[in-house]
């Protein structure tokens, strides 16, 4: 696999390093001359100097034959535009963008730059995962497939608490795929599995159904 990584900061350099170690062909593009000279001592021919938003720099890095373009500069505008030309001009099938400011995620979405990885959001999700009594947590979003997997802790008095899986009033387009009782190993439920307060359930669902899921499992919980 040939990967073009734009942005030789902490994220980009470590990514390039790991990919090379895993036997992938990588070109890292860095626009700061000092950073370039420092990294060149380690990566040698696997790094090129230049502004990765300029087309000739991307072409020199071989973007036309790239299987994957990863834009991880510290600038969201740059990352969006690099991925936009990678996808729409050079027809690269797979792109990954770093989103530095979570408020800019909407711009990545607007222009179809997916997936956009926001470290802030990832850490926030992890924190919510660790906070006891949380409501609903997004574990995985697959916007292209229009699917997501969420985790929700069943609260006392929730409509689903004490019911068998087959009796829970779930909307079409959602399915309980795993039950994690407190302190015990998780398992894939059957129709007659009883859901208890304090259990965590993993649900796969069509985007937009979250309110229905919350209503069944954690009507008094916090959503996140």
């Amino acid at each position: 696999m040939y990967v073009v990584v734009v942005g030789g900061g902490k994220v980009g350099l470590n990514l390039a390093r790991e990919l090379i170690r895993n036997g992938q062909e990588v070109t890292l593009v860095e626009g700061d001359r000092r950073a370039y000279l420092r990294i060149e001592q380690e990566l040698e021919h696997a790094i090129q100097y230049g502004d990765g938003t300029e087309l000739w720099v991307l072409e020199r890095a071989g973007i036309q034959r790239a299987d994957l373009v990863v834009a991880v500069t510290g600038d969201d505008e740059d990352n969006i535009l690099i991925c936009q030309v990678a996808k729409e001009k050079y027809l690269c099938e797979r792109i990954i963008a770093r989103c530095n400011n979570p408020r800019n995620l909407q711009h990545f979405k607007l222009l179809g730059i997916q997936p956009a990885v926001s470290a802030t959001d990832l850490i926030l999700n992890l924190i919510e995962h660790e906070v006891p009594g949380h409501g609903l947590v997004h574990l995985l979003d697959l916007p292209d497939e229009k699917l997501e997997i969420i985790e929700v802790e069943v609260t006392q008095g929730a409509p689903a608490a004490g019911l068998q899986v087959s009796d829970i009033d779930l909307p079409d387009g959602s399915l309980i795929i795993s039950v994690l009782p407190r302190g015990k190993a998780g398992f894939v439920p059957k129709g007659d599995t009883v859901i208890n307060p304090g259990d965590e359930v993993l649900v796969v669902l069509d985007p937009g159904l979250e309110p229905h899921i919350t209503a069944q499992f954690a009507p008094n919980g916090r959503t996140g």
Binding site: L55, E77, K89, Q106, H107
Partner: protein, 143 residues
């Protein structure tokens, strides 16, 4: 008509002033409060007294665009110093807010051409400058 100019540098402020003088409603957005001085420079009355609007804010912040009146804009001009900011904010104006006429300043000739093919109205001063140099050299060579 309502003209929203993002970026009050040399280009943006001049376009804003001439649009106001031509009788249009003009709103200017810039992240630097001091850029307002360019709008007042050489004018008999201040920018606001002449009827202009000025908002301090970052171009790609939705709240700043809303405060500057992007929803009422007939013409959107992206004229910050950064090509990437201009290309992004222009597409936000076009695709998110549906502004009818979006004009974007791009210094990089290659991307100016490509984004023009994608339907953006780009203006590339560098291309014009190169052409003028070429003509000037040609004139000298021929005379």
């Amino acid at each position: 008509m309502m003209v929203l100019v993002v970026g009050a540098g040399r280009v943006g402020s001049a376009v804003a002033k001439s649009s106001l003088a031509a009788g249009h409603t003009v709103s200017v957005l810039d992240e630097d409060p001091l850029s307002h001085e360019r709008l007042d420079a050489g004018q008999a009355t201040s920018w606001e007294d002449s009827g202009g609007r000025f908002t301090v804010g970052t171009a790609i912040e939705i709240d700043a665009l809303l405060a500057a009146g992007v929803e009422e804009a007939d013409v959107f001009i992206a004229a910050t110093r950064g090509d990437n900011t201009n290309l992004l904010v222009a597409q936000i104006a076009q695709k998110r807010f549906g502004v009818d006429h979006v004009i974007v300043r791009v210094l990089d000739p290659a991307r100016s051409d490509w984004y023009a093919e994608q339907g953006l109205h780009t203006i590339c001063a560098v291309k014009l400058g190169i052409a003028m140099f070429q003509t000037a050299i040609l004139d000298i060579a021929e005379n």
